[in-house]
Symmetry: C2
Subunit: 245 residues, 2 copies
């Protein structure tokens, strides 16, 4: 899954734990290109490694370390800056959704894309944002905006991944089961109808047809597996037998 | 912003910190209806309160506490269960995106919707999932799936919010500035063209027209503010004056 995604650039991150958490958040969505600008506590950072664990640790191992933002984005042709606050700077502001769609287009066109994330407490400085072509702003509750570094990384990674995969609106999780073919549903309906007829269930006679129709409809609507069908046959046999005793 | 969103039900959460972080994640996206099923360390939980802070603390104050999942969802007409692993249970599986779009439709239709989130370590049990109408599964990197509780809550909250707000693809962040009207851009172009003509810049003469056209185009493309225009006039005056000395 990892491949030629954008580089996520953590600018002056403070806590090693947060760098590790950001690496995990990235890798969840197949992103493995991290760059670090002047991490406060130096590099490598054992707390970052402890938090990352496993495959995410390799994201840290391969992370590029840079002194300044211009150094870190030197080879990039399009740079996004994530920021919560509105800025004096004149710059296109995009949602993560549209920014990551744009990033996909740019990367498919051979561009190199970076996304800047600011330090935990204060976020990016205007000097950093001025070096970006566009701003990414997550549309949060204006009365309560409290995304942390790893969460901002997570949402951008999620959108990167979502933009690249055609997701079916809904898919039936079946496990090892398989749906019953129509013939089995039909026979199940026959079985119930016959036994219920014998038991005098369809009463009064004037309502019998609509009762039968509703029952047929129910079997189809239930999306039964082959095992379900067998179970319903078994239930019926059991009930009929105990009634006959 | 908070209103009639879905209830997010944390099932047997272990760490109070994670309950607090989930409340923050929810409120970021305007969701304030939390329910708790049998929190491991009892309730109220000071660690949850310490993590939540401010407005998110009020989400905890108002959270409903229940002994079992059936109790917690008793009044709900549609229940989603979030789960990472594939299940033997036969159930529609949806992305957060499509699930939250469905949730909006359901709620607009007067339904009461709940989303179940499992305990940190093990996730929801089959007994819990069996009580849901559909499963939400975040499409993560199959080689590295490590979403924690608050992150799962965050992504569902983000999608709830995203589905409900028409986001412009791009919007220009202007701060207190305003774009220059065309007349000012035109005069700026005139000023430069005149001075550069005087300076013999447009050479050779056969290329002068296309050079001028390119320069006109550049001023428009740059999306200058009124302050930018004044600055460029100032630059030109300064350069001309120093050349004339």
């Amino acid at each position: 899954m990892p491949g030629n995604g954008p580089s996520f650039v953590l600018v002056r991150p403070q806590m090693g734990e947060n760098v590790g958490a950001a690496a995990r958040a990235m890798l969840n969505f197949g992103l493995d290109r991290m760059r670090l600008v002047a991490p406060r506590d130096g590099w490598p950072n054992p707390r970052a490694v402890a938090m990352a664990s496993g495959a995410a640790g390799r994201v840290l191992d391969r992370a590029g370390i840079f002194r300044t933002v211009p150094d870190a984005i030197a080879d990039c042709t399009f740079v996004f800056a994530t920021t919560a606050r509105s800025r004096e700077l004149i710059k296109p502001v995009m949602t993560p959704e549209h920014a990551m769609a744009r990033a996909r287009e740019l990367i498919e066109g051979g561009q190199r894309v970076a996304v800047l994330f600011g330090p935990e407490r204060a976020g990016l400085e205007n000097d950093d944002v001025a070096r970006a072509h566009a701003v990414i702003s997550v549309p949060v509750n204006p009365a309560f905006a409290s995304l942390n570094l790893a969460q901002a990384v997570l949402l951008c990674g999620y959108e990167w991944c979502r933009q690249g995969t055609a997701q079916p609106a809904e898919m039936m999780g079946l496990g090892r089961s398989e749906f019953a073919p129509a013939i089995e549903i039909e026979k199940l309906g026959d079985h119930y109808e016959r036994c219920l007829d014998d038991a005098g269930f369809f009463f009064p006679a004037t309502k019998a047809d609509s009762m039968k129709l509703n029952l047929r409809n129910l079997w189809t609507r239930a999306a039964l597996t082959r095992a379900d069908v067998q179970m319903f046959h078994g239930i019926l046999r059991k009930l009929v037998r105990s009634r006959e005793k």
